[in-house]
Symmetry: C2
Subunit: 452 residues, 2 copies
Amino acid sequence: MSEGQLGAVKIDRDRLWRDLHRTCEWGKGERWGEGPTDIGMSRLTLSDADKQARDWFVEMTKSLGCDVKVDAMGDMSGNIFAVRPGKNGGPPTYAGSHMDTQPTGGRYDGILGVHAGIEALKTMNDLNIETEYDTGVINWTNEEGARFPISMVSSGVWAGAYTLEKAHNLVEVGGGKATQKSELERIGYLGTLEASYKANPIGAHFELHIEQGPILESSGGKIGAVEGAQAFKWFIITVKGRDCHTGTTDFQNRSDAMLTAAKLILHSHNKATEFGCLASTGILTLRPGSTNTVPGWVQFSLDIRSKEDFVVSKLEEALKRDFELIASGEEVGNINAQGTKGRGCTVEWQFDTDSPATKFHEDCIKCVEDSARDMLGTNAGSQVQRMTSGAGHDSVYTSRHAPTSMIFVPCREGISHNPAEYCSPEDCGNGAQTLLGAILRYDRLRAEKEHS
Amino acid sequence: MSEGQLGAVKIDRDRLWRDLHRTCEWGKGERWGEGPTDIGMSRLTLSDADKQARDWFVEMTKSLGCDVKVDAMGDMSGNIFAVRPGKNGGPPTYAGSHMDTQPTGGRYDGILGVHAGIEALKTMNDLNIETEYDTGVINWTNEEGARFPISMVSSGVWAGAYTLEKAHNLVEVGGGKATQKSELERIGYLGTLEASYKANPIGAHFELHIEQGPILESSGGKIGAVEGAQAFKWFIITVKGRDCHTGTTDFQNRSDAMLTAAKLILHSHNKATEFGCLASTGILTLRPGSTNTVPGWVQFSLDIRSKEDFVVSKLEEALKRDFELIASGEEVGNINAQGTKGRGCTVEWQFDTDSPATKFHEDCIKCVEDSARDMLGTNAGSQVQRMTSGAGHDSVYTSRHAPTSMIFVPCREGISHNPAEYCSPEDCGNGAQTLLGAILRYDRLRAEKEHS
């Protein structure tokens, strides 16, 4: 297709918006306002609500004439691949994202990318567009890592970053017994296709996603052409002290695991500020859990992020050294400057997830830029911006074995992982239009490169 | 009885030790060592294990010829009163304590006091001792406040500090639906006797308890004659911020409830050190609870203690002022000196429990001292010490409407509320012997005062 022909390919923005909110009925979360879309999502991966969304995905893509590779179109990690045949077959150029959400998440994180992919298929059907190579849509399993605590684990299995066993054996957080495998079986999405880039190659991967940050909105940007993703590491920190009575044990004789954990969390924040990166604690549990007993055991999550791998490593090293000193009562970073030195606690680090900084493929980034500029017209100017993703995405793993880029659209105040997450109909439409244009441009680019 | 006769009254120390550990079979907790008694307790109030202990208490005291006032000898708050008739009746001189424990508690906290009271009855029976007035043993309900979160709530109801409804409507911590009343009904210990010092008066109350602190052991003390109890207040602090994504939200744009809670917990410790009192956090919960979501909601318990009421109030005032400032990002006590100022959080205080400093009755304290010195002989010297209780006890409430004192015995390293809690057979025996002597001395004193 020529640039001119491509310019004439327009998605149905109203249909996209309707479909998007229709499927949000499954796993509806907290209401935060009065509007019809002022409701959050709580669609944990492999829950009953996720099954309903998956059933819809399979039925819809089949109805659009997609090739059904294997039963339920799923691989053994529960990833679902819908493929629309092109002239020459070949590894498909995919639009991929996820339909699972955080426990108190929004209606756009992940969901938008899947719907935009389906809208792209619908538009190609409506306009009888025949692509050079196969195209398609992917729904990745457990991108959030909220229920089974490794994010993007199933695209990670596809990329060979994790074994299938590791993903299958993940146990749900909160004390439940269910594993990712047992839940895949329960809802009928444990496929038979090998979850691997070798057995099931991807030609290219484009992912539309809300930015989940404030940059585009605050700078008047409309489309982010994503060059890569931030590095991050996850750890589980266990602080061990000794239970004792709150009324009869003076500070000198305590090994207070909760007080120590509080110091470590504050110090991780102070150090991250010093290093110009991020550190966050999203989970904390303690034992035994009684108002008049000093806790002898506390466990908390630590999430470290930076654009640069070496900064993450530097912070990790610094905290591994400092946490031990602070727990033993040594004065580090002014944390133990006041208060009373007790008997000290021990600190254990458990490594959980490592996602190095990622560079996406220039061809894909360029296709996103061209598509966005074509859509926004000659005076697009700074409305199209190259940027780095602050969050991990399945595209981080696809980029290891396939040309990849992402498309970011603004979300209000950068709020995400929250019921108040919001992306306007205009921005949703812009993202989906850019996605389709990028897929078709890349399809043409592949053909040109092959025949040149 | 003359001092000489009293000196000949000896409890059976082996029988006490045997009984003590036999009843600990109900609600056995964690093993922490290899010895036969190196096992903790987990006998939460009104649990099935607590019912077994109560059934034993009722059966045992009945077999000792105790007067059964009402069905199950219980009042409407579940407190159980076993009364051994004396010559002239009258409000009984009681040995009282509790059989409930912390979730990971020890074998002596509370349990020892009840067993020592029963051993006193057994000894009086063995020696055919007829007291001037009724004597008896009390098992108080939910002293720990671990399952239903108000400690000493049922002796508090007896004393008029709480309404019966307040106690009945307490809901168990940890998300369960059971209330103190529903559990009293379930295990059959919702009595018909009015839970009140008016309907069911106490002549005097003596409570044997392990010290739960390091003072006696470190100073070579054998018996503590307790003059009163520390003041304490309990609060539930709620920090409200906003959930957001850990990777895409810079520190400036966060309202991080967990980071704020960490700062408040550290500051409460620093301030308590400054004021020479205690502050502790034993419970903390957060929402939503995901590694890559900054928590927008954290709730934690705050336990403040001092020998002086005004110091508790002073710390409460200081923290109410400082918590709000720290949460809003102001610099207080060096807590916000480093790190990044975010969007701030709000802090809500919920008042839970207030136990003012308590002064016990000089007559009772004197009876404890005399009994202890008689037992330890002429060179008792500093082995008998007057002291203040660091923990709250049911005696705090009985002392509002009846002459009261407590007897402390050493526990190893001052450890309590922990499976490793330990009180030697010698110290358990010393405490029980002192308890019986104090009861008999007070009985005689009452008669003397009445006839003089």
